[in-house]
Symmetry: C2
Amino acid sequence: MELRHLRYFVVLAEELHFTRAAERLNISPPTLTVQIQEIERTLSAQLLNRTKRSVTLTSAGEVFLSEARRVLKQFATAENAGRRAGRGELGRIEIGYVASAAYTGILQDQMNQFTQNYPDVLLKVREFPMDKLPQRGNLTDGVILDHFLVVQDFLYV
Amino acid sequence: MELRHLRYFVVLAEELHFTRAAERLNISPPTLTVQIQEIERTLSAQLLNRTKRSVTLTSAGEVFLSEARRVLKQFATAENAGRRAGRGELGRIEIGYVASAAYTGILQDQMNQFTQNYPDVLLKVREFPMDKLPQRGNLTDGVILDHFLVVQDFLYV
DNA sequence: GCTCCTTACGATGGACGTAAGTATG
DNA sequence: CATACTTACGTCCATCGTAAGGAGC
């Protein structure tokens, strides 16, 4: 099964009408019929009651509909996340700082400003002793870092 | 983009090796290459660093990997739910009962037994005045009901 | 020179549309 | 008799594999 099947099924469940649903999907009714049959076959479950004159969801259809919507929603999230991450607007950033910097208030200011500009970036802050400030690429936990911040020469990301 | 793309990408991210990943997926390396390129093109994001000698995830790749896994997991859930719902093992059941029945303890016993046999069925219990006990098919909220329970002639589902 | 990702190109399968079939109201 | 879901069948595109190219070690 592919996302296409889920997309088709959700629209059909909304319309409860093969012809109209097919129209919305820019495909022909027979194509929709076959694709829906494929879902039912792979699930070994009947999702729709067809009376040749009206289409309704079975109880299994209701269940699968809500799950399918969840999948599509999650997929949309994934797509967005991927796009934004590609533009550098989303990701995980670890900040190491030396204790003295924390007291200046500058760390807080910088973080606030940054999180405002990039609300989807997860900021992780951790104290490092001065000599352990990581070089790019040798951070713990295998986190990949493409971003680089320098605050007052004390904060590295 | 389809689920296939996500499946390919996740395996590749696990192997970090086109040839091995392709082997696991029972496809040829060139096919895998093209499919991954398709993802990167539709996302306008680079997910992998290829140095001709080693493959690593970019930060965007890390992000997309975790999101893609979520999608696939949700899809597996949807498939399972659909299958079980088709076998009648999963769904939503509303129980109407008259107050007197609640005191007999029978309601509780029956529910316990039922939820033990069908752990995935969501049970909703609500009191009904005797004369409002619903007939099959006219329950509120448009909930579709395929199951039918009778407890002491008082409980209908 | 070997490994391995990529590009090029030809083949096969599946999604799709058109047309016909059938049932319902 | 009209509407609308389905079956049948032919077409076309996309995924796939094979073969060749090129870069790194």
